[in-house]
Amino acid sequence: MNETREIYRNFPFLMQIAFYVIAFATIGFFVYGFYLRIRKYKKGRDAGRMNNVLGRFMKAAAIMGKNSTVFKRDAYAGAAHWMIFWGFVFLLIGTAIVALDHDFLRLLGYHLLEGDFYLVFSFVLDIFGVLFLIGLLMMMFRRAKKLPKLDYTRNDLKPEQYNRKGYSTDDKIFLWLLFLIGLTGFFIEGLRISADNMPAFEMWSPVGWVIASSINSVGLAESANSLHVYSWWFHAVMVMFFIAYIPYSKAMHMLVDYANLMFKDDMAAKKLPKVAEEMLDAGMGYKKVEDFTWKELLDFDSCTKCGRCHDVCPARNAGTALSPRDLILDLRTYVDSSIGSPEWFKQEFVNGKNDSKEIAGGVISKDVLWSCTTCMACVEVCPVGIEHLTSIVNLRRSLVDEGNMEDMLQDTLMNIGDYGNSFGQSERNRAAWTKELDFKIKDVRKEEAEYLWFVGDYASYDQRIQGLSRHVAKILNKIGVDYGIMYEGEKNSGNDVRRVGEEGLYEMLVEDNLAVMQKSKFKKIFSTDPHSYNTIKNEYPEFGGDFEIEHYTGLLLRLVKEGKIKFTKKLNYKVTYHDPCYLGRYNGEVDAPRELLTMMGIELIDMPRCKENSFCCGAGGGRIWMDDSKVQERPSEIRIREALTLGEEVTHFVVACPKDYAMFTDAVKTSGNEGKMEVKDIIQLVEEAMGE
C-alpha cells in the first residue's frame, strides 16, 4: 500500500475551481492590505536603518526562533507564544509543501508526499498542531485571568471619552480563529482516516488516528465521507478569512514585528538622534505626521498591546497620564486617521482628541509627554522592539521649541543655559565642595592626571551630596589614585537636558564640556553620576568626544581587586541595592556594585525588580526639575515600599547615583518609613569597610 493521502478528496472538479477562485481573491485581499501598510511606511522620513540588512535579518530571526523577548520575565507567555509560533510555522510549511506538491510538482510528474516522507510529515505536523492548540489554550486561560496589563482602561481619559471595544474584539477573533482552524484541521484529518477505513500507516498521524477511532466508536464512520467535505470547507473558509484578515488586524504583528525587531537600534534611547537637517527650518521637534521616520511608523503598528511597558512604567505606576502603550497606540490611531490605514479594529475618541492640529500638546497631551522619566523600562521590556523614548523626546522637542513647558522646568533650563548648572548657582562655585578637603584636587585643565572625574551637577551643588563627593575624593586621595576635576570648566553634561527635548542647549553644553575636556590632560574619565556617564559614553562620540569612561563603582571594584583598596572591616549588613536606570538598564552595569558589596562581607538581597528591570526613582529625563504634585504616588516611595517587603533585617538601601540619594532619602521620610531603612551611597559603605 502507498502511504499518502488524497488532496481534494471526493471533490467535484467545479468545487476545486471554486476553491482556487476564493483562494486567489483572498490573496488579493492580503496583498492589498500589505500594500497599504508599505505605502504608509514609505511616507515616513528616512530612519537610517538600512545598513547591514542581512545581519539584522539574522539577528531578528534568532530572537524570533527563541521567542527570547517574549520569554523575558514572563515564562508563561513565552512558552505559550513559542508553541503558537512554532506550531504556526510548521503548519504553514506543511501547507506550503502540500501546495507545492499538488499544484506544481504533480504537474511535472513528481510526488513528494508519499512513503516515508509522508509519514514523517504527518507525524511532525500532528505534534506541532498539538503544541499550537496548547499554546492557544494557555493564552485563552491567561486572558480569562484579567491581568492588569491586559486591561485597556486608560489613565488619562474618562471611560465615556474613548472606546476600545475594537481592541478586545480583535484579540478574541485572533485567538479563536487560530484555535478553531487548528481544531478543525485535526477533525478533517480524523474524518479522512475514518473514511479511508483506518489505514495502519495513518497511526503516524497520532492525533488524527485517535479522532478517527473516536468517530468510529460513536458510530459516525458511515457519515465520515460527507462530514469530511463539510468540515474541510469550514476549515478552508476560516483559513481564507484569516489570511485576508492578517494585514487589517493584530495578526499583522507576525510580519510587522519581525521587521521592527530587525530594524531596532540597539542604541535606541541610549543615544538619541540629532535633529534631522531637513527639519531644522521648522524648528526642532516633530510637528506633523511626515516628521516621523518609517521606523517610528513601524513602531506604532508593531504594538500587540501586550501591556508590558504599561506594567513597568514608573510614570504609569505613579498614576500620571502617561502609559507608554497608550502613547504608541494613540500615535498609531493618529497616523492612521491622517494618512489612512487598513486597520479594522481601532480605538475611537469621543472628545475629538484625534482632531487636534498639534501632535505634541494635542493628540499626545503635555501631561503625557512631561510625565516620562526616560527610565527606558518600556524600551527594554518591549518584546517587539518599539523605541517609545525616541518618539517621546522628539515630541518634547516640539514643546520646548514653542516654550510650552512649566515654569519650574523653564527656570531650570535658563539656569543651565546661563550658569551651566541646574541649581542656578554661580559657575565659579562648582568646585566649592572641595574647599572643606584638607588637600587640593588636581585641576586637569592645568595639570596632567590619569583620571578625569566628571562630577556632575548634583554631586557638585546639592548640599546633601557634596559630602558624598568628598568621601570619594578622600578615598581616592588616600590610596593615591591620580585624578583631577575640571573645576568651573565642567558644565552640566546635558544627559537630561537632551531628554527634556532642549537639543540646542544640549549641543551647547556638549561643545562647552568638550572644549575643556579636549584641552585637559587625562587618560580616562570616571563619573559618580550615571546620567553624565551615559551621555559621555554613548552620545559625546557623535560630537567628537571619544573618551574611555567608567562609573565609579567599576573603578572602585578594580581598585579593590588590585589590592589598593583594602577592606579591613567586615560589614555584617543585609542590604538591598537599587540599580540606577542610566547604569543598569542603559549600560548593563549591574555586576560591579554587587561584587563590591559582596567583597565587603555584606549580604545583598535584591528587590523583586532589579538589574535591567530596576524601578526608576522618578527623577530622570528632567522630572527632577518639574512639579510632581500631579503624581498620585511618587515612584521613589513605591520603590521604598518595595524594598521594605524584603523584611526588617534589610537595613540599608544602597544607591550609586547622586539623584537617587536625594530622591530616596526624601522618599524614606515622605513615605513615613524613617528609621526603618537607611539610604546609603555605596561610597559610604566602602569607607566603612576600609575601617575609616
Binding site: V275, D401, G403, Y419, E502, E503, G504
Partner: protein, 254 residues
C-alpha cells in the same frame, strides 16, 4: 502698530558682588550680565500684543559688551527688529543719559507704544519710562501689569499698593513702564537663538540728542552695615530655644 521695547542688561546677582577700589561702583572684572528681569516682562507683553494684533516689535538697547546676545535672544523670541544704539557710554549709564539717547533714536522710528521695565536692579530709580515720555512728549503709565489695545487707544492695568488695581485709558502713542507681563516671559530654545545669530543682524543707530547728566552721582557704594541691636544666639537648637525663652521672660513676655 509699532511697539518699541527698550531693554538693558544688569549685573547678574547670582555672582557675588564686590565693590571696586574707588568705592563708587561694583568691581566689574567678574561681573556677569543678564537681561533686566522687568525688561524681559516688557518684551513679553509686547510679544503678547504682537500675537493679538499683529504689531511690529522692535527691541532697542544701548550698546554694551554682551548686549548682542540679549538682542539676538529678543529676536529669537519674536522681536522683528533689533537695534543697538551706539554712542560713548560709560560703565554706568544713568536713566537720564539712557532716556536721552534712546529717545533720540526712538523718535526717528514709527512708534505707537514704547515699553520698558518699570525699574532695574542696578539703578532702582524707576525713571526711564517717565523720562522717555518726557523726551518723546507722550503720555505715560508705570507699574503696568497688563495692556489691551483697542484701535487707537489702549486699556492699561496699573498696580497700586495694598492690592488695588486701576485701569487707564490712554490714546496712543503711550510710554509704559512694565511691572509684569500678563504671562510668564517665554522660553526660547537655544537652537533658535543660535539660528537667529546666523541669520538676523543688529541695526546700529548712533545716539543723538544732548547728553543730559544724571543730575546726581554716586558718592559711596557699600554693603548694608549692621546697625547693632541684633544679638546672635549660638549653640545647639535646644540651647538656642532655651536662651530665647529666657530672653522673652526677661522682657516680660509670658
Amino acid at each position: 502698530m509699532n511697539i518699541i521695547v527698550a531693554i538693558k542688561q544688569v549685573p547678574d546677582l547670582v555672582e557675588g558682588l564686590e565693590i571696586d577700589s574707588s568705592g563708587k561702583d561694583l568691581d566689574r572684572e567678574w561681573l556677569k550680565f543678564k537681561l533686566n528681569e522687568f525688561d524681559d516682562h516688557a518684551l513679553e507683553e509686547a510679544l503678547v500684543l504682537k500675537e493679538e494684533t499683529g504689531a511690529t516689535v522692535t527691541a532697542i538697547a544701548l550698546n554694551a559688551d554682551g548686549i548682542d546676545k540679549i538682542l539676538f535672544t529678543a529676536a529669537a523670541k519674536g522681536a522683528d527688529r533689533i537695534i543697538s544704539v551706539t554712542g560713548d557710554f560709560g560703565d554706568v549709564v544713568s536713566s537720564h543719559e539712557a532716556a536721552s539717547a534712546l529717545a533720540s533714536v526712538i523718535s526717528q522710528l514709527d512708534h505707537d507704544i514704547v515699553m520698558t521695565g518699570v525699574q532695574a536692579v542696578d539703578d532702582r530709580d524707576g525713571q526711564l519710562a517717565v523720562l522717555l515720555a518726557h523726551h518723546l512728549k507722550m503720555p505715560h503709565v508705570s507699574v503696568v501689569t497688563g495692556v489691551k489695545v483697542n484701535g487707537s487707544s489702549a486699556t492699561i492695568t496699573k498696580e497700586y499698593g495694598g492690592g488695588m488695581v486701576a485701569e487707564f485709558e490712554a490714546e496712543l502713542p503711550v510710554v509704559l513702564g512694565i511691572q509684569a507681563a500678563s504671562q510668564t516671559p517665554r522660553y526660547v530654545p537655544v537652537a533658535k537663538v543660535r539660528q537667529i545669530m546666523r541669520s538676523a543682524s543688529i541695526e546700529e543707530i548712533a545716539a543723538g540728542g544732548d547728553s543730559a547728566g544724571a543730575g546726581s552721582s554716586v558718592s559711596r557704594f557699600f554693603k548694608p552695615e549692621s546697625g547693632g541691636g541684633a544679638q546672635m544666639i549660638e549653640g545647639s537648637a535646644a540651647d538656642q530655644a532655651g536662651k530665647i525663652v529666657e530672653l522673652l521672660k526677661e522682657k516680660g513676655i509670658k
